[in-house]
Structure formats: C-alpha cells, structure tokens
C-alpha cells in the first residue's frame, strides 16, 4: 500500500543543513498498522509528511497504492502532532471540515461526527470553540476529524500523546475496533513503546538523526490486545524490551546538528 | 526654491524690516513684478527684507494676513469686498494693482462663442467662489444677458484649461492674461476672451492688501513696501522679456516667454495712459461697491473706508 524507497531528506535551516532522514526503505502492506518509534527529532514527522504528500523527499521515492506521491491524496488522512483546529469553527464544524472539502454526504457524516465525539468523550462540547477546550480535548477533536472521512490510509503523528492514560487506552481499543470493521492502512508515530507494541502489526525503529531504519520488529501477538496482565504479557514484555534496547545505543549527548 | 530672502547687502541705514508677501495665485507672469522688485534690489533699497510666497487666492490671502502669517498679499478687489462684507476680516487694501479687472471668460473659437450673448445655454467651468463666478451676475446684467441661463460647473483651477480643451465645458473663468496659457494647453487652437472689463469698466482688479495692524502700527513700512513693489511692477511692464527671465530664475517651472506675454497683456490694465501705478479713487471704489450691492453680492451700507486705507495708497 505504502512504499518508501531510499528516501532521504535534508532541511536547509538558518544555521546550515539538517540531515533529517537517510535512505529509508520501507513497505507498509494493505490493512497493516505499522508504528514508528525513534528518538525525538529523528525524522518521524518528516517521514509521515512525505507519505502524506506534504513534503517532497530530497531523494528517493514514495508511492501510495502504487502511485507515486506527487500531491496529497484524498483517501489519505493525516492526524497532526498538534491539534491544528481552526479557531473560528466549533468542535463539530472542525470535525466536519474534511466532509466539506471532500464533498461527502453531510447528513450521514453529521451523525457519524456526533458518534465519534461521543466516543472520545466530547459529547456536549460540539458547539464550543477550540480555545475553550483543554489540550487533550483538542487532540481528541482532531482525532475525530481524521476518522470522519473513512480514509484508506491513516497517518497519525503522536495522536494520543496529549491524552491521559485511560482515554489513551480507550482510544487505542477503539482504533483497533475500527480497523476490524473497515479496511485501513495505518502508520502511527508514538513515543510510547507500550503503545507501539499494543497497536502494531510491525514496529519500525528509527535511529537518531539522521533517521535510518534500524530494524523492523514483527509483533505477532493475537488481537484484540489490551495492556495489563493477560495471556500474552510475557510476549509483550519481550517485544518491549527489544524495542527498548534498539532505541538505546545512541547516547543522547552525541546529538547535534549534522 | 526661489531664495526669496533677496539681498541683505543693501546700503540702507537702520534696521532691516522683514516682511512676508503673498502673490495672488501661484507665480505666473502676472505676479512676476514682486520678483522683479526683489531682483532689482528695490526692496533692499527700501530697507525691506521680503520673503515672497505663492498665494492661493483672495480669501486665503486675507486669512493669512488676518492671522498674521503674512504682511502683504494680493487679492482680487471684488473678492476682498465680498469677503469683508461677510466676515469683517481685519484686512485692508492699500493699493491697486489692476485699475481694471482682468476677470474674463475664455472659450475656444471652435465652440462658437463670440459675444457674451452666446454664453446663454452654455456651461462655464470655474473654481467655486472665484471672482469670475461671483461677479458673473453683475457682468451678465451689464452685458444684457440672462445669468440664469448660464450654468457654472465647478472645476479645480489647474484643471480648467484641460476641461476647456477637452470639451467638458464650453468656457472657463480666467484672467484676461491667461490667453497664452489656454492656447498653449489647447494645442494652438484659438481662444476667445470675453473680458469683464469691456462691460464693467469701473471694476477694479487685484489689490494690494495688508493687515489692519500693519497699516495702523507701521504705516512707514507699508508705504515703503508699496513704493518698492510698484516700482518693480513699473519696471516689469517696461521690460516684459527681462521680467520673464527673472521670474524663471526664481521659479524654474515657469516659462519666460509665456510670462512675458502675460506681462505685456496685463500692462493696459495696470495703468491707463500716464496714470500713476497703484492709485485708488474713492469714487471708483464707491462705484464698485454700488455694482456689487445692486447685484446682491454684498449687503447695502458698505463704505470705502471699510476696505481701503486711502491715506496709504500711492497718490497720483
């Protein structure tokens, strides 16, 4: 479904270039959920922006559904690290933004929007403006917005990082449920190893800047998965430990501009 | 700019008096005489340090004089009468530049206007409140035409020649001396000039104005200024070409030939056969007042003393 071949990216900043990504080759299969983990600043967001068609790689190619990404696709939905709500729209209207832009069925989607808002605990806040919400609530509204269009591909950039542990767990479960019900290929960035293991079919581990693909770890734990004590706790712990180790080696102090 | 200060190197004894002078409207040939007086050193000889500023019309000049921003200025006598009647500004005339009004209506020959009568049914472009417009009822009466059949449309002074040349209006209010300018603007088409003076021989033109304070407190300065200015006027009438060059020296935007032509055209209006330049006759002032009173431009009861100080005017 999604293919990156030899993708590199260099930013030209005010103080010289930053080599953000280096020679990434990765294939995400149809209906698969790949989580992306790596140290802060290693280029995860940059990679996702490329898959979304928001940024052209300095070199290498990205294809989605067999077509090279030239510009963003309507069947790809992006959920940003920051909520990015439009300040002049109510929560409901923010959720319905893609419906307007993609000209989907308004009435049906309106109902769906109410469902989604209820699901993430925002029932009763439909008519509020974003600045009246807490950080987590904004992020939840943003999640609803990214789901409203029933996308083929869902790209999520640390979607749950502003949420409390329980909401987070609930939404993880909800995401798994949605994926059972409808086909959806997902790339999911997280900085929580726990979350990466919980959600992923495979976990892609990036090395610190410049981001290189260090390893892809298969998570062969049956679904639905939940955290806490269960039959697969050992396997979860094992994978987590492996990821932990993979992320470890580079000592932080060596970070610096390329 | 013009370097209006002139020479202070004059040999005259005593303190040099600094005065500010306003031309009638901008710095065309018709106003060149002040620069001539400056250039020829007449002001310096009189112990005056004169700063010449371009004026912007009679009412503005009166306000500036009344407000003490200028000491002398040129204003249309009719306009002065009307304004004085209305607002009682502390301004007084102390000499007459034009014995006969330069006010005129100018049309283009191709428009078919030949005589005042032809104006009926036509539009005249002029600045609202200008002499030509304000005095028009008087003129119409004297010329025997129906003033109500002539339509005045407002136009800004600098645009009047263009308005005429482009046919937006049939005629415009101007001064007699403006013929050259109009013909130049109209690309050589011939202009027809209908001077008010032809039917209103008594009507004065521009007057030299000063503030009441100045006239009361420094009559000697006033007299010296009048003498020097009118000496310049006399010289300029005698030497139009040189005066044109002098004007151009101080005001590089001006055209020396056009200015010379204006001066030549103005000469007959300044001093009729052998008359002293600048003189004012009480009888003629009364006649002017009567004309305006009859046409309703000013209320009845105005006296010459209200507008002119005959003790200061040049005596002929």
């Amino acid at each position: 479904m999604i293919k990156l071949s030899h993708v590199s990216h260099v930013f030209a900043g005010s103080q010289g270039e930053v080599h953000a990504l280096d020679d990434i080759t990765l294939e995400v299969r149809r209906n698969e959920l790949v989580t992306l983990v790596g140290r802060s600043g290693c280029g995860k967001s940059t990679m996702l922006r490329m898959v979304a068609g928001l940024l052209r790689p300095s070199s290498g190619t990205v294809t989605v559904a067999g077509e090279p990404m030239g510009k963003p696709r309507q069947d790809v939905s992006f959920m940003f690290q920051r909520a990015a709500l439009l300040p002049w729209r109510t929560v409901l209207d923010n959720v319905l933004l893609p419906v307007e832009i993609l000209r989907l069925d308004r009435a049906a989607k309106r109902r769906r929007a109410h469902e989604l808002l209820e699901l993430v605990g925002l029932a009763g806040f439909e008519k509020r403006l974003p600045h009246e919400l807490s950080g987590g609530m904004q992020q939840r509204a943003s999640l609803c917005r990214s789901l409203i269009q029933d996308p083929l591909v869902l790209l999520m950039d640390e979607p749950f990082s502003a949420l409390d542990a329980l909401t987070r767990e609930e939404l993880s479960i909800e995401l798994q449920r949605i994926r059972r019900e409808q086909e959806m290929t997902v790339i999911f960035i997280t900085h929580s190893i726990e979350e990466a293991v919980l959600l992923a079919d495979r976990v892609a581990v990036l090395s610190p800047r410049p981001g290189r693909l260090r390893k892809i770890v298969d998570v062969d734990i049956p679904r639905p998965r939940t955290l806490g004590r269960n039959a697969y706790a050992d396997r979860v712990a094992e994978v987590s430990a492996e990821l932990h180790e993979l992320l470890m080696p580079a000592p932080m102090a060596s970070e610096g501009a390329a | 700019g013009g370097g209006g200060g002139g020479g202070t190197e004059g040999p005259s004894a005593g303190a040099v008096e600094s005065v500010r002078y306003l031309t009638s409207f901008n710095t065309f040939g018709r106003d060149a005489y002040a620069y001539v007086a400056l250039e020829k050193g007449y002001f310096t000889e009189a112990g005056l340090n004169v700063d010449i500023k371009p004026g912007t019309g009679t009412v503005d000049a009166m306000k500036l004089l009344a407000g003490g921003r200028a000491d002398f200025g040129i204003g249309d006598f009719t306009g002065t009468l009307i304004t004085t009647a209305k607002e009682k500004l502390p301004v007084i005339a102390v000499g007459m530049v034009h014995q006969n009004s330069l006010a005129a209506i100018i049309a283009l020959e191709e428009g078919g206007i030949r005589t005042p009568k032809d104006l009926e049914g036509k539009t005249i472009g002029d600045q609202p409140g200008s002499t030509v417009q304000v005095t028009f009822p008087v003129y119409a009466k004297a010329a025997g035409i129906d003033a109500s059949k002539v339509k005045f449309v407002p136009g800004a002074p600098p645009a009047l020649p263009q308005l005429l040349a482009s046919g937006r209006v049939d005629a415009i209010g101007q001064f007699v001396v403006g013929r050259g300018l109009i013909e130049k603007a109209a690309q050589g088409k011939k202009a027809i000039v209908l001077p008010y003076g032809e039917v209103l021989p008594d009507l004065y033109g521009n007057a030299l104005l000063t503030s009441n304070t100045m006239a009361r407190e420094k009559p000697e300065v006033v007299k010296k200024f009048i003498a020097a200015l009118f000496k310049g006027l006399e010289y300029s009438l005698a030497n139009p070409e040189e005066s044109g060059e002098i004007l151009k020296k101080y005001q590089p935007t001006q055209n020396a030939e056009v200015a010379a032509a204006e001066i030549r055209a103005m000469a007959p209006y300044v001093a009729a056969q052998g008359q002293t330049i600048g003189v004012v006759s009480k009888a003629k002032v009364e006649a002017n007042i009567k004309l305006l009173t009859e046409s309703g431009a000013i209320p009845a009861g105005m006296t010459p003393e209200q507008v002119i100080d005959l003790s200061l005017t040049p005596q002929g």
Partner: protein, 260 residues
C-alpha cells in the same frame, strides 16, 4: 477572561459612555481653546458657531451628507471587492506578488489630489470620478492588510487542508481567508476613513454637491463655521462607518477577540 453577570452593566457603560466622554472632552477642549487664545471665528470657529451654522442649513447639509456618504460607500465597496481579489492574487504566488506589488505601489504612490482634476477631465462631473477616487484611496491598505493576513496562515493549518488535497479555492475559503479576516478588518478600518477623504478630494475639484463641495464653497466665502460644520459631518460619517465595521467584526469574528 471571565465575564461575570454583574460586570455586564459596567461593560455597557464603558462601551458607550467612554467614547462619548472622550468626544465631549475634545469639544470642550476646542471650545476652551477658542476662548482662551481668543481665536477668531474665521480661523477656527467655536463649537457654538458651528452648531449655529449647522442649524441654519440643516436640510441642505443633510442632503450633501447623503451625497458624500453614497459616494464613499460605493467606492469603498468596490475597493473591498477589488482589493481582496488582488490580495488573493498576491498571496497565491510569489511570482504574481513580485509583479503586482510594484505596480500597486506605483499607482498608490501617485498623489491622488494631483490626479483628481485629471479624473474630472477624463470622466466628467458625475458620480463616477468620485467613486474612482474613493476606490483609489482605500484600495491599497485593503490589499496590503489582506495580503499580509493571507500570507500568515500558520503552516499547521495549511498543511491540514493540503493533506485533503483541497483545491486552491477550498484552501482559500476554508482556511486562509477566515484566518486572515482579523487582518482584513484592520485594512478595512484604515481604508474607511480614507474612503471619506477620497470622496472629499473628488468633490473639491469637480462637484456641485457633497460635503467636500460645501467646504470649498464656504472656504471660498470665508464662511469657516459652515466649513467646520461640513467637516464635523464628515467626521461623523467616518466614525459611524468605522464603528459599523467594528460591530461587524464583533459579529463575524467572535473568536478573534480573545487575548489581551
């Protein structure tokens, strides 16, 4: 941040009382100045002279006010439409911006009072040159403000709609334009008083109606109180239009007035 119910009355008072107080203070100051410095009426008339002049010609002045108001509003409306469209062009591409800006600047740089007479020569004595003049004066601030507003959309918001492969129009109307609206309003507020001035300039050089014409007329006859009455009416037009825009802003941009 918090509006308590009991604060509402005070708020209302402040909203209306203070501006009125400010104006009253201004008039009082003016009056005082004319008395203390014994300024003459033909120079600066006292408020009572002006009121007298106004009452003496109330009907006539109202008619002239209406003429000027109409010209102002029409020209302003045209400037809003054309100005915002131009700003859209400018904001849509750096290339167009680089080409259009200098032209705009060149046009804007021409002193309008200098070309006002020429406009009359071209377009005659009707309403048209007045509307054009109003347009010319208020066009530029609208363009600059709107263009700046349109160019300042946060990257996260444009990225968001871009990620839906939204059309340029959609990006514009869903995000860029609403985001720029507070900025657009700044332009409109600057422009509205220029619009009034534009109408006056145009009336100065070739009109037989409107408050600008009244000013020329009364100026020429040294009837300064009447000129001031006309100027006061112009001031009132300006202020009313400005507060109209302000009210409009409060209604359409409740989200923008949040921080202080």
């Amino acid at each position: 941040m918090i509006a308590r119910p009991r604060a509402r009355l005070t708020r209302r008072l402040v909203d209306w009382g203070l501006p009125v107080l400010g104006l009253v203070a201004l008039v009082a100051l003016w009056w005082l100045a004319t008395i203390v410095f014994s300024i003459e009426k033909f120079l600066v008339p006292a408020p009572d002279d002006v009121v007298e002049a106004f009452i003496g010609q109330a009907g006539f002045l109202m008619e002239q006010t209406w003429v000027t108001l109409l010209e102002t509003v029409q020209g302003f409306a045209v400037a809003v439409v054309v100005g915002i469209s131009t700003a859209m062009l400018i904001a849509s591409s750096r290339l167009l911006e680089k080409m259009i800006y200098p032209l705009l600047l060149a046009v804007n740089a021409v002193p309008k009072i200098a070309i006002a007479p020429i406009l009359v020569v071209w377009m005659g004595f009707g309403q048209f040159p007045k509307i054009v003049m109003v347009f010319l004066l208020c066009f530029f601030p609208i363009v600059i403000s709107t263009a700046t507003g349109l160019k300042s959309t946060p990257a996260e918001l444009t990225d968001l709609v871009r990620s839906y492969d939204a059309s340029r129009l959609q990006v514009f109307f869903k995000v860029r334009f609403p985001y720029a609206l507070p900025q657009v309003m700044v332009g409109l507020k600057t422009a509205i008083s220029l619009a009034v001035i534009g109408a006056v300039i145009a009336e100065f050089v070739g009109a037989d109606a409107g408050l600008g014409y009244v000013i020329v007329q009364s100026g020429a006859s040294a009837d300064t109180p009447l000129a001031f009455a006309a100027m006061a009416l112009l001031g009132i037009i300006s202020i009313v239009l400005f507060y109209g825009l302000n009210a409009l802003e409060k209604v359409i941009l409740p989200w923008a007035e949040e921080n202080r």
